[in-house]
């Protein structure tokens, strides 16, 4: 054991260790029993559950481990729960999809687990190097997953687009990080904050803010760095799209918050302005572009862009309230977005692609249960009470008003009103259109049923009783450091 690395450090990275171990086991099983999909799913889910349990061991702590490279705090725990849950739901909805598409389950689950591992380091890293390597682990896994449907040219194209633009934005991000290192001489977030405090921020730091903002903006699909998202979301396998739009986005937000709130409070006024512009552009363009989409996955892609815009409000606000409400929104977004994608996955059958809006036609007559669930997800995405989406919006927009960003809140409310149009358009298709495939109801396997059940439960329960989520989010936001300076500079 190297000097300065104690047994405690290994204890603190137990969730990550379990996940890595599980991933290796899955990879081995994929070689030994390549056709046993259920076993692979079981082991993968078991790994996730074990990881969740071990995360909850540390949920009340607030310490740094591994020589100051990782934070074990409620903030990290909250995001780990989110990414692990989204990975679990993704796997559950993948099971039938893999069967229909005839994909190899072993490598697929392995890559999902590795992407999750990267996300967990993004959530807990407090050093630019850790964050960067976590981001890359996630991104490389997603490059492969996006192109997992090898015979499908759309999937190829999605992979190429995501890969090239991802590598490009990585260059921009790294350039910004190198500037920060040059100005402060350290990569530790804490160290950066200390080095920058007490001096008027130089233009180089502002330059770094823009470059890092652009690099992270790419990952969360913020306008104008969003353009990959619709194409990649459309071409990638649907469960991967779901995971990309929830897990990847959540982890990137964690990393973004860590970098900007913990390391760069000295230039809070600057990045707050940057994200103000990004938030307005993102939600407006996302919603308006979604209005006329005919492909369901593409529409959900734009919707997820718009939601990134709402989430950015929490970053703009930058206070503990703002971050807490953003976390609530992320928690809510997880259920509704994954639920909507689960329905899209359920529409996929050997003879039907099922990701066009018109494929939903008459779903209410074919599968009333599926239609009602989709209705709930759409209402929640649109922010209609009493669904969870409404709660998230109330808190988020309330935080914005509270911090004096009234115009931002007004724009966000107007955007929500616009967004209702295309969400309800889905409802119109399900209820008021001719049956697209008469007489063939959707079939939910057990895995899909569980996934949909969890998504519905989250969407409804957090709409009626959001207390639990609020408490967790507040505790998580409380452990993020650097607010005092942010508030002072607001």
């Amino acid at each position: 054991m190297p000097a300065g690395f104690s047994a405690l450090d290994f204890y603190y990275i137990l969730p990550e260790l379990l996940l890595t171990g599980g991933a290796m086991v899955v990879l081995l099983l994929a070689v030994l029993t390549p056709r046993n999909d259920n076993l692979l799913l079981g082991v993968s889910l078991g790994t996730l559950v074990a990881s969740v349990l071990s995360v909850s061991l540390f949920s009340g702590l607030d310490v740094t481990a591994a020589r100051g490279l990782l934070a074990v705090d409620s903030f990290a725990a909250f995001f780990k729960f989110i990414v692990l849950l989204s990975a679990g739901l993704t796997m559950l909805m993948s099971a039938p999809y893999l069967r229909v598409e005839g994909l190899k389950a072993g490598e697929y689950y392995f890559l999902i687990l590795c992407a999750t591992l990267g996300m967990m380091f993004m959530a807990s890293g407090v050093d630019l190097i850790t964050l960067f390597i976590g981001l890359e682990t996630m991104a490389v896994s997603f490059y492969i997953l996006a192109g997992f449907l090898k015979p499908n040219p759309r999937s190829n194209e999605a992979a190429v687009k995501y890969f090239l633009l991802g590598a490009f934005s990585l260059g921009v991000l790294l350039y910004g990080m190198s500037l920060v290192y040059g100005a402060t001489g350290t990569t530790s977030l804490q160290g950066i904050a200390v080095a920058l405090s007490g001096q008027s921020p130089s233009m180089v730091i502002v330059l770094a803010v823009v470059l890092i903002g652009a690099g992270m903006g790419f990952k969360i699909a913020a306008v104008p760095f969003h353009m990959w998202a619709p194409d990649v979301y459309e071409g990638a396998p649907t469960p991967v799209t779901a995971f990309l739009s929830v897990g990847s986005k959540a982890a990137s937000f964690a990393m973004l918050l860590r970098i900007f709130v913990e390391a760069l409070p000295a230039v809070a006024a600057d990045w707050s302005a940057l994200f103000w512009v990004l938030a307005v552009l993102t939600m407006t363009l996302g919603n308006i572009a979604a209005l006329t989409q005919s492909n369901l996955k593409r529409m959900l892609a734009y919707s997820s862009i718009a939601h990134a815009g709402y989430l950015l409000i929490g970053v703009v606000v930058g206070t503990e309230r703002g971050v807490a409400s953003m976390l609530v929104y992320l928690g809510v977004y997880l259920f509704m977005q994954l639920g909507a994608f689960a329905i899209v996955v359920a529409m996929r059958r050997s003879d039907v692609v099922g990701d066009e809006l018109k494929d939903l036609g008459g779903l209410f007559r074919r599968s009333p249960a599926a239609a009602f669930m989709m209705l709930l997800f759409m209402l929640s995405l649109g922010g209609i009470p009493p669904t969870a989406g409404f709660m998230g919006k109330v808190w988020l927009f309330g935080a914005a008003v509270d911090a004096g960003f009234v115009w931002l809140a007004v724009i966000a409310v107007a955007n929500s009103a616009v967004s209702l149009y295309y969400y309800l358009r889905v409802v119109v298709f399900m209820w008021m259109h001719e049956d697209a495939q008469p007489g063939s109801p959707l079939v939910f396997g057990p895995a899909m049923t569980v996934a949909l059940g969890i998504a519905i439960l989250g969407t409804v329960v957090f709409g009626i009783y959001p207390q639990l989520l609020f408490e967790q989010a507040q505790a998580a936001a409380g452990t993020l450091e650097g607010f005092s300076a942010t508030v002072a500079l607001r």
Binding site: V210, G398, M432
Partner: protein, 698 residues
């Protein structure tokens, strides 16, 4: 009385059962029974709750079901407040009256629909009842909700149901367009409402109606300036304008008639569209503290009433006449609230619910009898075929025209009286509207039920042609089945008798409803005692009676004018020329010129013999001519406004969004490098922004 939460829930359960199971498995009869049973049970519960309410000292009962939004610290004008919202329902006189209206009329319309929708295929039939029940669920949540947010749940929900039901026959392009239009227009209103609620919380630190009223009652009345309360009220009123179809957002309601007729009766006449009036009444204390907004409310109400009435004069589609009439009557209610007569507004809301639901259902019966024909020019003489419908609709028309002792008289007169006390100009507008209302309602009655039958034939040669397109044979106009006429009769009784709860003091009554509703419009029961000091000025009973007589005379004049034009003259005309029977197709003034000319030319000798009477008549005709021309001009102006300004605005918003959407789609070229260029452009723009901000100094 803790069971009041069951009242909204029961229809909700009905909707859930029919929606989840019924569409696949239930027969028509079973689905209809479930829907009607849940509504019936809700009606019974409402009655019980209402009776218990009468026995309460404070006339108020709040039931908190569960926590909804846990306390969220939010900044308000007076420090940090806890934004906490429970699932709470409030039963007080206003909501008590509303639940009776919603469940009572709702139940009748459910019954009526079982027969009216009978020719729908099974799936559509069950779907219809599912929506209808769902609507009642949301509507009852709206009226029972004890906070702005619970009300908002219902507010959005009824909007959704309305949207679904307008587009019920979605394969009809016009129907789905109308649904879309309703949706877009209502979004504008909702935007105002949401902002208003935000501002309410910011100002008062609570969203509970009672607490807001308490807090507002301690604020100064904003007589001179436009303060925060005025801002709140204006925003809330924007919401009400959208929901209750007032200028300038009324355009969706006439189009909403694309929905099935029972829907028009329930949602677009009796209940949902009155939600705006209800909401303003609910916040009476707030509005009383914002006199400027009150003036806006009254003016908008009066103008809407007048404008919609003028349009109603020239419509020939039976449902369109009723739709404009509804807009006009809603304007009346806002006029009442705007002059501070909240009780009168609510009273008119109730009587209107009866007679307008009656008229709509009656028109549905007529349309049913005429095989889906809605054009009054193709009706006529129907009283010989469908006596019950005729008599009940006639009662409704008398009620809306304001003839004593029918219900409309009392409520309308109360509004006119209070308006007279407050603003003579608005009173003038309202009286003119009352005359027009009487005219066009009886024009409707006369065109539909009197004169000769002008519809398609059915007896011999044309027997198959028209009817068999619909898949069933039509045997000519006929009375509707009992399930449809019984609700008509019940409503007719209501339309006749509902006014007696509010007989004014001048007629020896006690104006019971006003005293009953009063607690809902004041801050506390304590300040109720001090009500006398801000009591409005009174006229002597004699003057009041004179006003009353005047308004009745105006109503009667309207009726007699309609009779003059659509019954008497036509009879005369029939003897004169064979083609006279389609004269009502001709525009009003032209009709008169021709008629007068024909009368003088052919009956010239008779004319000289009649002497003075003819001169009289010419004067009258001339005046009518002028009025007709003016009306047409007004209608035209309203129509142009409607089509190019209001529609234009709505379309513009939609157009901008749509074009923006296409623009963004064009930018999305699919070329990776263009995406990278966009990223680079973002970087460049942001760096430039900072450079400019820092070194140029903006």
């Amino acid at each position: 009385m803790d069971f009041i939460w069951l009242i909204p829930l029961l229809p909700g359960v009905g909707a859930a059962i029919n929606g989840l199971l019924g569409i696949r498995y239930f027969s028509k009869v079973l689905a209809a029974r479930i829907a009607c049973a849940t509504m019936g049970a809700a009606l019974l519960l409402s009655l019980v709750a209402f009776l218990e309410l009468l026995g309460l000292e404070h006339r108020e009962h709040v039931v908190t079901l569960a926590h909804w939004i846990p306390p969220i610290p939010l900044e308000t004008a007076s420090g940090i407040g806890a934004f906490e919202v429970p699932w709470a329902f409030r039963l007080d006189p206003l909501s008590g009256m509303m639940i009776l209206i919603v469940t009572g009329i709702g139940f009748l319309i459910h019954l009526y629909s079982t027969a009216y929708m009978d020719h729908e295929p099974r799936g559509g039939y069950v779907r219809f009842f599912c929506y209808l029940n769902l609507f009642c669920f949301f509507m009852l949540t709206l009226v029972l909700g004890s906070t702005f947010l619970v009300m908002f749940v219902g507010w959005e929900g009824v909007g959704l149901c309305s949207y679904l039901l307008i587009g019920f026959w979605y394969h009809k392009q016009s129907a789905s367009d109308a649904g879309k239009k309703a949706f877009i227009v209502n979004r504008i209103g909702d935007f105002g409402f949401v902002l208003g609620v935000f501002l309410v919380f910011y100002t008062f630190g609570t969203v509970d109606f009672r607490e807001v009223a308490e807090a507002a009652s301690h604020m100064p009345v904003e007589v001179a300036g436009f303060g925060v309360v005025s801002a709140i009220c204006l925003l809330l009123f924007v919401g009400a304008v959208g929901k209750s179809a007032q200028i300038p957002l009324y355009v969706w309601l006439p189009d909403a008639m694309e929905g099935p007729t029972p829907v028009s009766a329930l949602i677009h006449a009796a209940t949902m569209v009155t939600a705006g009036v209800y909401m303003v009444g609910r916040n009476a204390v707030l509005f009383e503290h914002a006199p400027m907004v009150m003036t806006v409310v009254a003016t908008v109400g009066a103008l809407t009433a007048l404008m919609a009435a003028t349009i109603g004069l020239v419509q020939t589609d039976i449902k369109k006449v009723l739709a404009y009439s509804t807009v006009s009557q809603l304007g009346y209610m806002f006029l009442a609230t705007g002059v501070g007569a909240f009780a009168a507004g609510a009273f008119h809301l109730m009587t209107h619910a009866f007679f307008k639901a009656l008229l709509f259902l009656g028109s549905g019966s007529v349309i049913h009898a005429m095989d889906e024909e809605q054009d009054m020019k193709k009706m006529g003489g129907l009283k010989y075929y469908m006596g019950t419908t005729f008599i009940t609709m006639f009662i409704g028309a008398i009620a809306i025209a304001g003839v004593p002792p029918f219900s409309g008289f009392f409520s309308k007169d109360e509004i006119l009286y209070r308006t007279f006390l407050s603003n003579k100009w608005l009173w003038g507008l309202a009286v003119v509207t009352a005359g027009m209302t009487a005219f066009y309602m009886f024009r409707l009655i006369f065109m539909t039920f009197f004169g000769d039958y002008r519809g398609p034939g059915w007896k011999h040669e044309e027997h198959g042609g028209h009817a068999e397109e619909h898949g069933h044979t039509w045997h000519g106009p006929h009375e509707s089945p009992r399930l449809m006429t019984v609700p008509l009769m019940v409503l007719a009784v209501g339309a006749f008798a509902a006014g007696f709860v509010g007989v004014p003091a001048a007629l020896g009554g006690g104006n019971a409803i006003e005293h009953f509703l009063e607690p809902s419009f004041v801050a506390t029961s304590a300040s109720h005692a001090g009500e006398a000091e801000h009591a409005v000025a009174h006229l002597s009973h004699g003057a009041e009676l004179a006003l009353m007589a005047f308004s009745v005379l105006v109503g009667l004049a309207g009726i007699s004018l309609a009779y003059h034009l659509y019954v008497r003259r036509r009879g005369q005309a029939d003897r004169l020329a064979a083609n006279w029977s389609v004269a009502h197709r001709v525009l009003l003034n032209k009709y008169y010129v021709d008629e007068a000319y024909g009368a003088t030319a052919i009956d010239g000798t008779m004319a000289s013999a009649r002497g003075l009477w003819t001169v009289d008549r010419r004067v009258v005709d001339g005046a009518v001519n002028g009025a007709g021309w003016l009306t047409r001009a007004l209608s035209w102006v309203s129509h142009v406004l409607d089509k190019y300004v209001v529609d234009g605005l709505v379309n513009l918003v939609g157009w901008i969004c749509q074009e923006g959407s296409y623009l963004f789609r064009r930018v999305q070229t699919g070329l990776i490098q263009n995406y990278a260029v966009a990223t680079l452009f973002g970087v460049f723009a942001f760096i430039t922004m900072y450079l400019v901000a820092r070194y140029v100094g903006v």
